[in-house]
């Protein structure tokens, strides 16, 4: 234990120096850090452990954001001790200019990505012929996707559930909105009557674009004198139109990546398409729902049991999201699976 000789006057300068040091380096330099604990195996998630993992992931995310804010002072720091150099080398904002998305036009940063593992708890989702449950697959893929997206330290990634429990659609949506989600990615696995089929498809929320445009035009032409409620509704519709465009772009990017990079053998490209899923409609952020493959296909079910395959799918989802955000595929997107098969 630190033990000062009693009665001696402390050096105030030394204390000030300490305060400064702890504020410079007290927060770990987490930009390149992996989120602390690897999530537990998906097939059985102890609730307690999962909560610890949630807390740890959040702590890492917060620290990362904090350090990111720290790491971009306007003037170059005068004589920083070399320890933090790694944190300073790449202070670029997460989203480079020129990708042409609406967030880019408006100068907005995408910072928070909510990943939504489908089903959970009493609701297993699809169940394969070998009894593999959709809820376990979606949770594991979602966690891998989170870990991958968090690696760069540019995004805060939150899961709507990080253990095996039931979460209602309304709760998922409310969580995303409360968290200030900039993107919402829901992960599902298909089940089809024909076991031979194993399609990949990605949905975005779609209303008929024409009706939205018509309504917008009507509000614009009405001149003065429309009520606050009408105005609000029009603004909401305009927001919806923007969201629709962004959601479609995201869906197309993710679909392409899933088809190109997902380690496809038997899967078919069914495309990105609009659908009125509740989670897609009600989230404020651009939202997609990816059906990563079909559990009704026995070969796919077997492959989904391997960590390597689930990781490849997570890598493809990551690539799709990053391509949408950055306009180019990430360098590390296609790297090797990081875990051995279980």
């Amino acid at each position: 234990m630190a033990q000062a000789p009693p009665g001696r006057r402390p050096g105030k300068q030394a204390i000030l120096r300490e305060v400064y040091e702890t504020n410079r380096t007290g927060t770990p330099p987490p930009r390149r850090r992996r989120p602390a604990p690897t999530p537990p195996p998906p097939e059985r998630g102890g609730a307690g452990r999962a909560w610890v993992a949630v807390a740890a992931a959040l702590a890492v995310a917060l620290a990362a954001v904090g350090a990111w804010a720290l790491a971009r002072p306007e003037p170059a720091p005068p004589s920083p001790p070399a320890a933090d150099a790694g944190a300073l080398e790449d202070p670029a904002p997460p989203r480079p200019a020129g990708s042409g998305g609406v967030a880019d036009v408006l100068g907005l940063d995408v910072r928070t990505i909510v990943v939504d593992p489908g089903h959970g708890g009493y609701d297993p989702g699809a169940v394969g012929p070998g009894r593999l449950e959709e809820k376990a697959v979606t949770l594991d893929v979602a966690r891998r996707l989170r870990d991958r997206l968090e690696r760069g330290g540019d995004y805060r990634v939150l899961l709507t559930r990080d253990d095996d429990r039931a979460v209602s659609l309304a709760e998922r949506v409310a969580f995303a909105d409360r968290a200030g989600a900039d993107l919402y990615v829901s992960v599902h696995v298909n089940a089809l009557p024909d076991p031979a089929l194993a399609p990949v498809e990605t949905y975005y929320f779609g209303v008929e674009a024409d009706s939205t445009a018509r309504a917008l035009a009507r509000a614009g032409n009405a001149g003065g004198g429309f009520s606050v409620a009408e105005f609000n509704a029009a603004v909401r519709r305009a927001g919806m139109a923007v969201k629709l465009q962004e959601s479609r772009a995201l869906a197309e990017s993710v679909q392409r990546a899933l088809v190109d990079q997902g380690g496809l053998v038997s899967r078919a490209d069914w495309g990105a398409k609009p659908a009125p899923f509740a989670v897609l409609l009600h989230t404020e952020a651009p939202a997609i729902l990816a059906e990563i493959t079909a559990l009704s296909n026995p070969a796919e079910e077997d492959r989904l049991r391997t960590a390597a395959y689930r990781d490849a799918i997570a890598a493809a989802l990551e690539a799709g999201v990053l391509t949408y955000l950055q306009g180019s595929p990430p360098p590390a997107a296609a790297d090797a699976p990081r875990e051995e098969d279980r």
Partner: protein, 343 residues
């Protein structure tokens, strides 16, 4: 030392010390302005309330007064910023923005802020505070609340700070360096615990009467005491049909005294870790700070309890409400410019 870097800012920086508390947050600035606010932030619930209130955000007592029309958030409940709650983070940001706006006289004057946060989970809160405050200030330092208090009263060596807030009571021994975890103890027995205890006792004494949470807190803040009462304390409550004033003197006293044994035990345990000579010095330099420092008779009672096991002198800091903010301000002002510029 290289010559001071030229900045493109024309005005000299404004130094600000902020005490981010569960119950109250205070700021003191180098332009001698001070302000405080109850740590509540409220957002109008809907269109109607927004129109009625005419504001997008309400703070402090204003927010509490209009709580029926607001989503009211007390972001530092329990002494830490709850992780993962955007609302809490946003509320912390609004609180700090509000405090800074109140002390800032010139627009565009760069702000260098030292912020004291509850000692418990300093690390988590640190990241959260940085996260939300980032662009409100040019540079930011975050320290533990009791340390800020100690710095402000120049009790950096051979002293103990007992900072009793709403969510936590922090005990911290200063020995001439930055306190580490080993030098600190945190109890969750503090102002809020007194409130809960008081509400429970009153519900037993007056089973058919309801007392408002805010009412009880106000009564406590005005009249909290331990030991002999100076007079009758009453609180407004409502039974099925009528409002009336009820005597709460004994229950207020018992509630306030309920935190004393734990404080004494924690202080003794913390002291026992140090050399006997040093213990003696510390025992004579115990300072009470925070809202709990305003409990009448508490310093005397703690001193009497500690005196049973050795010498003891317990004093209340001069200005419990501002001691944290003033300490943080002193720290901000003493901090050499080149350290600030490096942050």
């Amino acid at each position: 030392m290289p010559p001071a870097k030229k900045t493109d800012k024309t005005s000299a920086p404004l130094h600000v010390g902020i005490d981010l508390g569960t119950s109250r947050s205070a700021a003191a600035a180098s332009n001698e302005k001070t302000t405080w606010v109850e740590s509540y932030v409220g957002w109008p619930k809907d269109f109607v309330s927004r129109k009625m209130l005419g504001k997008e955000v309400l703070y402090g007592a204003d927010a509490v007064r209009h709580r029926m029309s607001l989503d009211l958030v007390r972001p530092l409940e329990g002494g830490v910023i709850r992780e993962g709650s955007e609302r809490d983070h946003e509320a912390v940001r609004e609180l700090i923005r509000h405090l800074l706006e109140a002390v800032q006289t010139e627009d565009d004057q760069p702000v260098r802020a030292a912020i004291g946060v509850p000692a418990e989970a300093l690390h988590a809160s640190k990241a959260a505070v940085r996260d939300v405050v980032g662009d409100l200030a040019e540079a930011l330092m975050i320290v533990s609340e009791p340390f800020a208090v100690a710095y402000g009263i120049d009790a950096l060596d051979g002293a103990m700070i007992v900072d009793i807030g709403a969510g936590t009571a922090d005990l911290c021994v200063m020995h001439g360096t930055m306190p580490t975890e080993e030098d600190q103890r945190t109890l969750t027995l503090a102002g809020d615990a007194i409130d809960r205890q008081l509400a429970r006792r009153l519900s037993e004494r007056y089973p058919s009467v309801r007392f408002g949470e805010t009412t009880l807190r106000q009564v406590k803040e005005a009249s909290a005491f331990v030991g002999e009462p100076e007079g009758k304390v009453s609180a407004r409550g409502a039974d099925a049909s009528t409002l009336g004033d009820y005597d709460v003197t004994d229950d207020l006293r018992a509630s306030c005294e309920s935190i004393v044994p734990a404080l004494v035990e924690a202080a003794a345990d913390l002291l026992s870790r140090y050399e006997p000579d040093f213990q003696e010095t510390v025992r004579k330099n115990v300072y009470l700070a925070g809202g709990g420092g305003q409990i009448r008779g508490l310093a005397e009672m703690l001193e009497a309890e500690l005196a049973k096991t050795g010498p003891a002198r317990v004093r209340t800091v001069d200005d419990p409400l501002y001691s944290g903010a003033q300490g943080a301000l002193a720290l901000a002002q003493d901090m050499p410019a080149e350290y600030w510029e490096d942050l």
